[in-house]
């Protein structure tokens, strides 16, 4: 989708609540016109993560700009090459104190970790999905959704010690979004007197939180504030269940995924689980249930036994000798699933464009080269162009190991959020990566 200056003017003159200088949060609407109340499509942001990094020599594309070729590990993305931007040669600058921990801290929060002894750590600042959800998550039923193809804590942080854990069952994820109370466009919500009563219970909980808050230390106050945020979000969700849904043309009820995905030969069927989740997530976005997500294909240091592999993934990254053909094939399995997800987003029409066009998906990992935990030449793929805010179909290779926080600032701004800077200490930037911006 391309936005000409003329379209922008028409949008403004047509009475849509878009004014120059304010964050433009949405794409212009299509010729059908009525899908969203103000005639615009929302922007969406997501993180797609896998653990244990890549093999940089097999990952980095050749060529630069629009003249580039996919590498072996990126080759599964062939069908979506024009919809992605690959960024290489950039560095996490926030130190490398914890193998597999410092990378996520840098690439998601732009700030050094808080170390707790041993290999324990917490982020010192919110992860980018929550930074963005704070700004654009208010209008949907869910401020953000977190999913993981394996059980695990995820790395979506509201701040220190405050995580948003992912759902790891495709079926439970489906039930959460499309079960109890979800109303399809065109259907009237069933009036339910219990919804109002549930809200009044939450009001009482809010009062309890307020009473308790007065007696607490600053640290515990912040923890309860997080609880309060969750309660407020749930209240809003209950209100939404009573409203007529917007008539979104591409919103449909996904098929309910299987209840269980049993291991095959003692190995979890990761592709099947990830695809079942991707199918539900894509329609959750199309139905505007959320505009922000994080998808944890695997986690840092995971030892998942992938099909046909003689040892767990993490162990192989360190122990497989030579050119690491087994690790290489695992990375390609992962990019195959990334490609599936991107294609799934692209398969959903939205106006004259597709769901993918309104998205910016940051796909990345916890290290660059898994074998030695390097944080230089960091693997970054961006899918979608956030309604034209980003370039796509290019490979940008940093000539000088620039700070990855620049990419994060570009993404935040691409969501229409007028951020002046991002990150902290050595991760701080006040300059975004112009080369990937449209």
């Amino acid at each position: 989708m391309k936005l000409s200056r003329r379209t922008l003017l028409r949008g403004a003159l047509g009475g849509a609540a878009v004014s120059i200088g304010l964050p433009a949060l949405e794409c212009m609407m299509n010729r059908h016109g009525t899908a969203y109340a103000n005639g615009t499509l929302p922007k969406r942001f997501g993180v797609w993560f896998w653990g244990n990094g890549v093999i940089p020599t097999h990952w980095n594309p050749t060529g630069e700009g629009t003249e580039w070729a996919l590498s072996d590990q990126l080759s599964p993305l062939e069908n979506v090459k024009d919809d992605i931007t690959v960024v290489s040669g950039m560095s996490v600058k926030t130190g490398n104190a914890i193998p597999h921990g410092s990378g996520p801290g840098g690439i998601f929060s732009g700030a050094p970790l808080i170390l707790r002894g041993g290999e324990e750590y917490t982020f010192s600042a919110p992860s980018i999905d929550q930074v963005i959800a704070q700004q654009i998550g208010q209008d949907t039923r869910f401020r953000s959704l977190e999913l993981g193809a394996k059980p695990g804590p995820g790395l979506s942080f509201n701040g220190p010690n405050s995580k948003n854990p992912p759902e790891s069952s495709p079926r439970r994820f489906f039930d959460r979004v499309f079960g109890g109370g979800f109303t399809l466009p065109g259907d009237d919500p069933t009036p339910d007197p219990r919804l109002r009563l549930r809200r009044s219970v939450l009001d009482a909980v809010v009062t309890d939180i307020g009473r308790l808050n007065g007696k607490l230390s600053m640290h515990d106050k912040q923890r309860l504030d997080q609880h309060l945020t969750g309660i407020r979000d749930l209240e809003r969700r209950l209100v939404r269940l009573e409203e007529n849904p917007p008539s979104l043309e591409s919103c449909a009820l996904p098929d309910a995924p299987a209840e269980e995905f049993p291991d095959v030969d003692g190995r979890p069927p990761m592709p099947e689980i990830a695809r079942a989740m991707a199918d539900v997530l894509a329609l959750a976005l199309a139905c505007d249930q959320t505009r922000v997500f994080s998808f944890w294909f695997t986690y840092p240091v995971n030892n998942v036994l992938f099909p046909g592999m003689p040892a767990g993934h993490h162990r192989l990254t360190h122990d497989e000798p030579g050119d690491q053909p087994q690790v290489n094939s695992i990375v390609k399995l992962i990019t195959t699933e990334l490609a599936y997800f991107i294609e799934r987003l692209r398969s959903i029409p939205e106006g004259d464009a597709t769901l993918l066009d309104s998205c910016a998906v940051l796909a990345t990992s916890d290290t660059s080269f898994g074998r030695n935990h390097s944080l230089d030449d960091y693997p970054i793929v961006i899918a979608g162009n956030a309604c034209g805010a980003l370039k796509r179909g290019i490979h940008y290779r940093s000539p000088s190991g620039e700070n990855v926080s620049m990419v994060l600032l570009s993404l935040i701004r691409a969501m229409g959020i007028p951020a002046a800077d991002f990150g902290a200490e050595a991760g701080y930037v006040d300059r975004s990566l112009g080369a990937i911006e449209a």
Binding site: E120, S162, L224, Q226, G266, E320
Partner: protein, 531 residues
Amino acid sequence: MDRRLVALALVGLTACAKKADDPPLDLTALPDGNPAEAHLTRLTAAQYRNTVRDVLGEGLALPPQLEPDLPSAGLVAIGASESTISGWGVEQYENGAFSLAAQVMDDAARRDALVPCSPAGVTDDACAEAFVEAVGLRLWRRPLTSEESAALVAIANDAASTLGDFYDGLEFALAGLLQSPNFLFRAELGEGGRYDDFEMASRLAFFLWNTAPDEALLAAAAAGELTTEEGLAAQARRMIDDDRARDGVRQFFTDMFELYELDALAKDPKLFVHFSTDVGGYAREETLRLIEYLVFDKDADYRDLLVTNETFVNRHLAAIYSVPAGAREGFARVKLPESSGRRGLLGHLSFLGLQSHPAASSAVLRGLFVRRVLLCQEIPPPPVDVNTALPEPSDSARTLRERNKIHLENPSCAQCHNFMDPIGLGFENFDGLGRWREKDNGAVIDASGTLDGVTFTNPRELAQAVRDHDNVGICLTRTLYRYATSHVEQADEGQLIVALSERFAQQGYRVKALLFDIVTSPGFAKVEAHQ
């Protein structure tokens, strides 16, 4: 005395450079320490479920998922005083609250057990209030204030009028009790430098029983007994003698030994034909049954856990350990033969299999567990920029000891790996699941080594060396103290921990005595109000 002194008393390792032993401190009385700062502790998933079971009744369908517990400083109990409730967690607690409340109110027997009156009509203020105050006292572990009670009665009345049924009203009031931070968090904030009676009741119950206080404990709190020395000691004795203390001790060791990780135990079934996804749970049960038996049935020396020939197995574990099962169904106590290389905790699958890779054993993980968990010695994470690949098995390097050589020969690796690998290699007679083996890739395994100056030639002797290590007693004391108080000790509490560990030794390393000493120590009763 501060934390550094505890570290010294623990024969600490700082950046992998070994420090000289400090002379043991001779402390006869428990010293006062600066107390911990007041803090908020979230109920763990197990505490939530146990409390619901104890207050609302057995057999309810419990929420399938709750906000996950995250360990901090090695303990979920400490993570609970740092972590938050996410938006999704709020949703799960709300769903869970209404599901539980409906189950209670839809079942006349359950309902009548909890509602102490018959309603006079669709709304009945007095009856609703009686219910809210009685159940509220149990769930919130303290009497409700009149405002709190009035707010819940108003919710009950509103719901009852709207839905046309008194018990529908109570359902909403109960759901409110179950979603309140007064239920989901333990707010133990103290007054005048010490916890009040109801806070003490909560601390005792969640520590010793891993659930909310029972009625007797709440009655003692209401009578002001828990802030007196005799009253506290009497309740502590009652609680430690009660069967529910078994739940508390099981939970503590689940946390300390990270046995919750066994739920996700994954092994390559092509290499480990005895593995199935149930094995992790069986392995946890073995370890917990043995602990329960030693602590409660035998009142034994804690260190026996490391060297006992007794254990508990079901048919699956018996097959893995190559011992007779003892029972067709379920677990039975069995005696491992003296000739067996396997004994004690360090012969359990919960250690050998968990501290391994999915397809192989690991000298590093096993050694690290002994240092970090059993001996409380910190070892820093590996440097981030080294090539950690081990050579594949070959004719010149068939066993892990041979392949691992670089860890101990390269000086920069060796400064830390010297503390872990020699221990882990001593367990190499157990494969990545925990089955006994004499050979690895056809070569005979050499399981000899030294642990801080004590030589061993096989896993049996290594278990003895760990058992005899100076740190074992104080490490258990410190971990149990941290667990009991949900925090990492502050300056000055170190002296108290050292004193507690001395008494632990004097009393024959009996865990029940240590439980009593901790809950009657100043560290358990005193609190520093936040600024």
